[in-house]
Amino acid sequence: MDDGVGRWLGGPICTEFHYWGFMRLNFRTQNVTLVT
């Protein structure tokens, strides 16, 4: 997406983020998958 905490940490950069959805967390990042 752009530089935020992820870049600051030298970590993954978010490319898609369905944060407000009520259903299961379903956002993926460029390099990693967020798993719950």
């Binding site: 978010c14 967020l34 798993v35």
Partner: protein
């Protein structure tokens, strides 16, 4: 007895409230600054330097409302019976910290790469296994019954949670949580001594 139940509810709520406060803060951060600043970046990313944060932060980070509701209910359902049954023998903060650190460390070393693990479900698994083994160790049939009921009423979902299935489910986190729960209860000194002879504390 009523006081004991009240204490169990209060202590469980306190911990769950802490998780909710962090979720609300994260929610506000995302609303104001954008989702790229989400605290979820501080989750546990195995074998990465920044992922080390996650050993401590993972149980406090949740992805959405349903996720935190599920984990809050699970935590409440497992923490209250543990405290009711084991009373002061169950040192809630200590057990929570131990399971969190042990499961997080195991997950950091052995978890799936290319992923950020968040959520308190590893802790929930740890506490359920802790409760089951504590039932054997301290001869509390009700805790064994609780473990069996948890598996039964989840429709086997608890067991399914520790085998690879959905790529977005942290099954390895669940597994490490369960292992951590076993390690923590086995490492506890068996307190069948005078201090534990009183099942419920006397009212003041």
């Amino acid at each position: 007895m009523i006081r004991h139940i009240f204490t169990a509810f209060e202590r469980s709520f306190r911990f769950i409230a802490l998780i909710w406060w962090i979720y609300i803060i994260d929610f506000l951060i995302c609303a104001v600054f954008g989702v790229q600043y989400s605290l979820n970046y501080f989750g546990l990313a195995p074998r990465t330097a920044q992922g080390l944060f996650g050993i401590v932060t993972m149980p406090f980070l949740h992805g959405n409302f349903l996720h935190i509701i599920e984990n809050s209910m699970s935590l409440f359902v497992v923490l209250v019976p543990l405290y009711l049954e084991l009373s002061d023998r169950f040192r809630m903060p200590e057990v929570i910290i131990k399971i969190t650190v042990v499961s997080g460390s195991l997950l950091w070393f052995m978890g799936r790469g290319d992923s950020i693990h968040i959520g308190a479900s590893a802790l929930v698994y740890g506490l359920i296994v802790y409760a089951c083994i504590a039932g054997f160790k301290y001869k509390r049939l009700s805790l064994l019954a609780f473990g069996a009921a948890a598996i039964f009423f989840s429709g086997g979902g608890l067991l399914m949670g520790i085998i690879p299935s959905d790529p977005q489910v942290s099954w390895d986190g669940h597994l490490m949580g369960a292992i951590a729960g076993a390690i923590v209860i086995f490492s506890e000194r068996n307190l069948n001594d005078d201090r534990c002879s009183t099942r419920y504390p006397e009212p003041n």
